[in-house]
Amino acid sequence: MPVEKLKVGLEVHMQLNTGKLFCRCMGNAAENRNYFQFTRLLRPTLSELGKMDLAAKYEMDRDRNFTYDVTDNTCLVEFDEEPPHDVDSEALKASIIMSMALHCTVVEYVSTMRKVVVDGSNTSGFQRTSIIGIGGYIETSKGKVRISTVCLEEDSARKIDGEKSTVTYSLDRLGIPLIEVSTEPDIKDEEHAVEVAEKIGSIGILSGYARREVDSIRQDVNMSMGMGRVEIKGVQKLSLISQFIRYEKTRQEAISRAIEIVRKRIGEKSVVVNFKDVSQVFENSSSKILKSGFKAGNAVYSAILPGFAGTLKNGDLRLGKEISDVVKAFGLGGIFHSDELPAYGIEEEKLRTIYEKLGKKENDAVLILSSPRSKIEVISSGINSRIEKLISLDLSETRGPRDDGETFFLRPLPGKERMYPETDIPVKHIPEEMMDFCEKNVPESVEDLQKKLIQEYGISEQDAGVIIKSGNLIRFRNLASSYSDPRSVARILLQKIPEIREKSGKEPDERTLMDIFEMSTGENWSRFVLEKAIEISTVSGLRGNELKVEVGKQIMTEEDIEKLLSRAIMEGAVTEKNVIPYLSKAARKLVDPTLAISVFKRISR
């Protein structure tokens, strides 16, 4: 098996909380409203030698058109109806700070490039991007990981729906500045990948420029096991990075085994799949899929896949899925293959007819496909190039992440032939004052900061890490310095507030928290009462004395507990085991369990 050592590199994309990169629109839409729509067609540009980028050609073959939803944070620049304005200087600063924090050489002159992307996610058909930092590194638990570049680029439009001939995007996200940090393939394994992504992300958050929204940090994972580079695009959850890498490892190993089987059967021969129109055979098939295909004017095509029997769907061998991914990418539902047939209402006797007609031998597989007549040529060529890549074990491609931890074929990898200068934006000199400002604002390293938090506040290493990562650093410092129990503050920030948010959709602001902490100190509240008070205040909006009264109404005081318990003990109605259920039932109030147990112990002695 040609499986080599795993090589992994990452591209971490962070949205910035500044305005948009090349116009003066806001990063967020004020209203969630679609003002109007417009449509576009995109055509890949040709290189000097008449070559077309592979990924671009693939998109052209898919022949889709694009609809864009206009939101209030867009202008003619996002519509590609006006040339770009000057780069946003806050975003530029953020990218310089990031480069410095990652020990990169910062360029003195910024050149903006166009990276051709014709999947509709950019109205112009390209993404504007500039290198800001080159050649840095970060320290990790498994050694240095080199940073190849830090780039400043525009985010793409947000896909709303459509896999088929029309795709709809919202323009709200288009043009938000992104910092892209690319590492060299120095990452050792899947856990290491998560660590590196976390580190890079936390530096961004520390700088104060990272946007704190869902999906504001996205990772692309590059990996190879000697069968070509696979890029998994747009992984949003850190925890999924390791899952995707593991999935890919398994997938690639299985493909390699499947192809070994095929090779043993057919030797070094190349495989060409030749689809024939077999609509006649299936004319009155009871298969729902074929029926509705006929209704839509489709024809049924079938072809022999020589030597592939038992590799398409057989245990962990799943080449059928590899092929159907391409078919789906062209907007069809999928493909049937002999490893899974008869099924889906396709009759056995019709299959026999087809197998005979096509001359299927024992080791051959058969593909069956319902497709519009106009599309079969391009789909067939898509399937053929897929199979050619599979049997030569060139697995390089761009794959998409699925929530269940699996990945799927997205498009061919783009080549180098897709970058050319953005002629609408002149080369920009970074002024010295800006460099100085950035130098002064480089955030401390996560390690240093983590150590400092542990020392200063006596919190755990883990809490310190989460505080930094979750963007709670400044908040934590402010609150911890005004309350005697920093560990409690950490717990409230990291567990209680997320819990309240989950339940009520609301979150307390810093000012309210400070007031409640002060009240807690005065009233000598326990941790339990403090946390409840925060919850009550967040949900009900009560503050000050009103809050105090409400807390008293809802939570049992030490006196309450003592009164109830002493009677119950005398009556023999309570043991240490049922103290808490007993109390809550008897008083219909919240009980602080730690307090109740300690009271029980004290008075039952």
């Binding site: 417009f38 040709l46 290189s47 006006e82 050489t105 050149s111 490039m113 112009s124 050319y420 200068p421």
Partner: protein, 421 residues
């Protein structure tokens, strides 16, 4: 950087820049900035003074194959000639240097327009590379002549032209052709054709479609809205570029476009001049005409200076057609000496009417010719044609006569909506 190391475009370089080592293709040096295309495709520009060249190798044998030139394509029965004037319809990008070059390969162009070659035979005729803003009346004449010649063997003429002055050039041709055997359709693009989102392809397709109809006039084919949806045909003498950058910048003023092309095909609104059995063409234009935009500080001396050596002047006045009364004496003197002074409006939309206010009546008494709804630029071009082709005595009458549809006699654009959506 050492002199001996002087690299040539396309060479491989390895340079030390601050603490980093960079490798890539040398693109060029401009204003003490050396530009390198890195292996990852990015360009970086580095100050020559802060780099050291570590390695320098000659080109790795990547010689460009010669440019493909394909001046005829398609097998359709309708023959369309495409005259290019520098407004490129297609370009290629040299990804190694980033240079954008026009494509002379019609096959490439039509390959991105499915179905075109089955219906049409397209032939390319290069007028020459000329920036739209440098087009002069002599260019209008020579372009008109080429169109007249090419019309003999073509069913339609498409002229690619920069959008900035397209209304001037196309209006000039409109006046020069009194009758024509084939449509002449100007086409341009607002997004250059090196971008995937270029409007050039669809505009071109629309132009080819319009050029195969019986529209016996000169028109402009451009986007109807900002969507890549429909292309509209504007009568050139009623059209104007109304936005600096939008792809639907061209508008028919005071009326609706003559034609529309979209997925269902071409539709034309009746009322246009049909193609004729023969062509009547005049190559005469008198360019001694000026277009003057009135502003509050325009003095009589300014006006007289501009009018010097001119035979006709179109004033762009305010509102219904007014200029400061300070200019009345000069105007009276100039018209008495034989200068033709006309009035169009800065409002662009609407018609000049110099009877409503006394200022207007006084100007008419001073000899100013009101031009109604004629667009200022069109009036300017029309006067060149009228000066060269009619008796001076008939000037006023002909200027106010609707020769080519330049006068919107009934304003039927009820919505004053310049911004579109």
């Amino acid at each position: 950087m050492l002199q001996a190391d002087k690299p040539e475009k396309g060479d491989f370089l390895e340079v030390k820049y601050k603490s980093s080592t960079l490798r890539g293709t040398y693109i060029g040096t401009e204003k003490d900035l050396l530009t390198l295309k890195l292996e990852n495709g990015y360009n970086v520009s580095l100050p020559v003074s802060s780099i050291t060249i570590l390695k320098h190798e000659g080109q790795k044998g990547q010689v460009n194959s010669g440019e493909r030139v394909n001046t005829i394509t398609g097998s359709g029965r309708t023959r369309i000639t495409i005259i290019t004037t520098g407004g490129t319809i297609a370009s290629r990008v040299d990804y190694s240097t980033g240079a954008v070059k026009p494509v002379r390969d019609l096959e490439f162009l039509s390959s991105s327009l499915p179905g075109l070659t089955e219906r049409f035979t397209l032939e390319l005729s290069e007028y020459g590379e000329i920036l739209s803003e440098n087009m002069k009346p002599e260019n209008w004449v020579s372009l008109g002549r080429s169109a007249k010649e090419l019309m003999k063997k073509s069913d339609g003429i498409v002229i690619t032209h920069g959008t900035d002055t397209m209304s001037y050039t196309s209006s000039a041709l409109a006046f020069m052709f009194e009758k024509q055997t084939a449509p002449i359709i100007f086409v341009g693009s607002q997004r250059s054709s090196d971008r995937p989102s270029s409007d050039a392809f669809l505009n071109f397709r629309g132009a080819v479609e319009f050029s195969s109809t019986d529209f016996g006039e000169v028109g402009i084919a451009m986007h109807e809205t900002i969507s890549d949806d429909a292309i509209v045909l504007h009568r050139s003498v009623r059209s104007r570029k109304m936005h600096t950058s939008r792809r639907d910048a061209f508008r028919t003023i005071g009326s609706r476009p003559v034609g529309r092309f979209h997925a269902d095909g071409v539709s034309l609104t009746p009322g246009y001049r049909k193609t004729a059995e023969e062509t009547t063409f005049s190559h005469k234009l008198d360019s001694k005409v000026a277009l003057v935009y009135f502003s509050p500080t325009l003095t009589p001396e300014d006006l007289e200076n501009i009018c010097n050596n001119r035979k006709a002047v179109v004033l762009m006045g305010t509102g219904l057609g007014h200029v400061s009364t300070d200019l009345n004496n000069s105007i009276r003197r100039l018209t008495r000496d034989g200068l033709k002074i006309m009035m169009a409006s800065q409002c662009i939309q609407g018609s000049v009417n110099m009877n409503v206010y006394s200022t207007g009546r006084l100007l008419q008494e001073a000899g100013v010719i009101p031009l109604g709804s004629i667009l200022p630029e069109v009036a300017y071009v029309k006067s060149m044609y009228v000066l060269a082709n009619y008796d001076a005595d008939d000037f006023e009458k002909i200027m106010q006569e609707n020769l080519r549809g330049e006068i919107a006699e009934r304003e039927i654009s009820f919505q004053l909506n310049l911004g579109g959506q």
